[in-house]
């Protein structure tokens, strides 16, 4: 078995690590404090070209394999998960269905500018009464002549308040549950499409998250993003594993940022005449954190490798997301204990990591849902 990154992947990791250290890390605190979309950093960072990470070179992308993509997701989240969420939305969920099913005109209007950071993308799943349970989606799409008419309200939409276009999950028939779901493209400026309430969040601040309202929004037929009607759930399956493993990779980014803070503190902080890292109980924390982070990465990168090799990865992706995120929550907690009361002060970073980690418990599927899903696959219906 070969667990090593290729020479190219090692180099990519080095470059993206340095880039994040130079551009994102110094801004992380300000992004969290302001809780506004960081337009200046967005402009500077996106012109480097990373938003085309997963798309073919012929259309200006990098064609990165899933393993390389996970390296990117982990590092950008290490810098600032608030910023990372906005970036990854443009790279993956917010553009995938436009790339996969969009006409050339749609690609030119939405995808290509989004790959350059000139347009902000989003994807809308969640509603006030449905999140992980997509079959409960209430937003409707009704065909009228050559148009679709969308009605509904979406909640918890990453980039929602600033998005230039949205991939919207809506049902063509409420009685069909998950089998009536489809994706539709709605662009900013379309009458009836407007941002609603912006959420004030505990963590992942800087990603502007909020409500999107669709009030008799009329879109042309070609804005149905799918080859066949009512196959939305099937199409979602094409990126579901990547979204889950990506969430795990982001969790490892946060965990690493917190761990590094803990390490520095344990080496410097003196108690009873010696650095606290010399005490066994503190050392044990690092042994546990490092072990579980290593285990998380093995799950993440082996799931990504399976995706790269086109091997089945659904259960492995769920395992990686769940284990890495739970590990992240443990690590950020332990680091606040290592920092003692200083972790409670807003002027230091551990409290930010502690807050940020919480969101990943729900994003990409709650662990309660994932466990049920995995249990079903393992035991059978």
């Amino acid at each position: 078995m070969d667990f090593a990154f290729t020479e190219e992947q090692q180099f990519f990791k080095k470059i993206i690590t340095d880039t994040v250290d130079r551009m994102v890390v110094p801004k992380a605190r300000e992004i969290d404090e302001k809780d506004e979309f960081p337009w200046e950093l967005w402009k500077d960072f996106t012109k480097l070209g990373y938003l085309g990470l997963r798309y073919p070179e012929e259309i200006g992308g990098m064609n990165a394999d899933p393993v390389t993509a996970m390296i990117f997701y982990e590092q950008i989240a290490r810098g600032s998960v608030g910023f990372a969420q906005s970036v990854i939305m443009n790279i993956l969920m917010g553009t995938y269905f436009v790339y996969r099913f969009g006409s050339q005109a749609i690609r030119e209007r939405c995808l290509f500018p989004a790959m350059k950071g000139e347009k902000v993308a989003t994807m809308c799943f969640t509603e006030d009464q449905s999140g992980s349970d997509l079959s409960a989606t209430r937003t409707t799409a009704v065909k009228e002549g050559s148009e679709w008419v969308i009605n509904g309200t979406k909640m918890w939409i990453t980039n929602g308040p600033v998005a230039d276009f949205a991939t919207v999950l809506a049902t063509t028939d409420l009685s069909l549950g998950a089998k009536g779901l489809n994706f539709f493209l709605v662009e900013k400026g379309t009458p009836g499409f407007s941002p609603g309430q912006v959420l004030d969040k505990l963590g992942c601040r800087g990603t502007v998250t909020g409500e999107l309202v669709f009030d008799n929004v009329r879109i042309p037929e070609e804005n149905l993003l799918g080859a066949e009607l009512n196959k939305g759930i099937e199409y979602l399956g094409e990126i579901l594993d990547e979204v889950r493993v990506m969430t795990g990779a982001m969790a490892m980014g946060i965990a690493q940022a917190a761990y590094d803070e803990g390490l520095e503190y344990a080496r410097k902080r003196i108690a009873f005449g010696k650095p606290i890292g010399n005490y066994q109980l503190i050392r044990a924390k690092f042994a546990d954190m490092a072990t579980e982070m290593e285990a998380s990465r093995l799950l993440i990168y082996s799931a990504a490798w399976k995706m790269k090799e086109k091997l089945p990865s659904r259960i492995e992706a769920a395992m990686a997301k769940m284990f890495a995120t739970e590990t992240c929550c443990k690590v950020v907690d332990e680091v606040t204990r290592i920092w003692g009361a200083n972790a409670f002060a807003n002027e230091y970073n551990p409290q930010r990591h502690f807050r940020d980690a919480r969101f990943l418990l729900y994003g990409g599927g709650t662990h309660e849902i994932l466990k049920d899903f995995m249990g079903r696959l393992l035991i059978g219906k």
């Binding site: 190219e8 180099f11 990519f12 080095k14 880039t19 551009m23 012109k47 480097l48």
Partner: protein
């Protein structure tokens, strides 16, 4: 205008460094980076090419891992790179390193050789000057501004409390100081090129050198041992009113510590 940039892969500034129990070696955590001052040199070479045309070629002497530093050079915008692959030579003294580099440079067509003012690992700051000596070329060090025109360069060097302006005919060797520029963050197009590029490797034998030249007994200088830095004494708090305390602080700095 063809530029050669000498690039060294050094331990990452955050890598842990410990003196081995023998006292004769260092145990360095295997985390690496491009020498910071070489990044200034690379950036300047790329900017000169952007203004005057030509090519930028990065050259490194080191083990197989040094390829990563050269990939970084390509990602930033260097056109070509070459590795002189020899760990023994790379670990040898500045004289041998400069000799190997100058033998490689002799085979190239160039107008400018740029390098960092020093490598941040050994901090000796000696190789580019010796390269200039081996090649019989002028050298301008610690450059913070470099203008090229009509086959000559006007370089500004930073001195203690002043700047020196030097005019020199090309070809010449320059060493880059902090302040010369702000190295660019690589674009993904550069990163992709760097990930795919095949970087040619040459052996010291290809340069007319022999491996035994790098043996410790044949080096011009020998590292006898490493000593840990003196432990920093505890912080000294000076009591009293601000004015008197400041006067006492100055007295300690001048008379006791003799640092000012």
């Amino acid at each position: 205008m063809n530029m050669l940039v000498l690039v060294k892969q050094v331990p990452d500034p955050e890598a842990l460094v410990e003196i081995a129990s023998s006292g004769k070696d260092l145990n360095i955590e295997p985390k690496f980076a491009v020498n910071l001052f070489d990044e200034f040199a690379l950036e300047e070479a790329i900017r000169i090419r952007e203004r005057h045309g030509g090519k930028v070629k990065a050259i490194s002497l080191g083990g197989p891992k040094a390829i990563e530093a050269l990939r970084t050079a390509i990602a930033m915008g260097a056109d070509e790179a070459m590795l002189i692959e020899d760990e023994a030579f790379a670990a040898s003294d500045g004289y041998n390193v400069a000799l190997a580099l100058s033998k490689a440079i002799e085979k190239e067509t160039f107008d400018i050789v740029l390098a960092g003012r020093q490598a941040i690992d050994a901090d000796r700051g000696e190789v580019p000057q010796m390269v200039a000596q081996f090649l019989g070329l002028p050298h301008v060090g610690v450059v913070v501004k470099l203008d090229i025109s009509d086959g000559k360069a006007v370089a500004e060097s930073s001195l203690e409390g002043a700047k020196e302006v030097v005019e020199v005919a090309l070809p010449a060797v320059f060493t880059a100081q902090k302040g010369l520029n702000e190295p660019r963050v690589p674009l993904i197009t550069g990163v992709m090129k760097a990930m795919k590029v095949q970087i040619p490797k040459v052996a010291v034998e290809d340069l007319g050198l022999t491996r035994d030249m790098a043996a410790p007994e044949n080096s011009k200088t020998k590292t006898v041992g490493y000593l840990p830095p003196k432990k920093r004494p505890a912080v000294q708090l000076i009591p009293g009113e601000a004015r008197e305390a400041a006067a006492e602080a100055v007295r300690i700095l001048v008379d006791v510590e003799r640092v000012i």
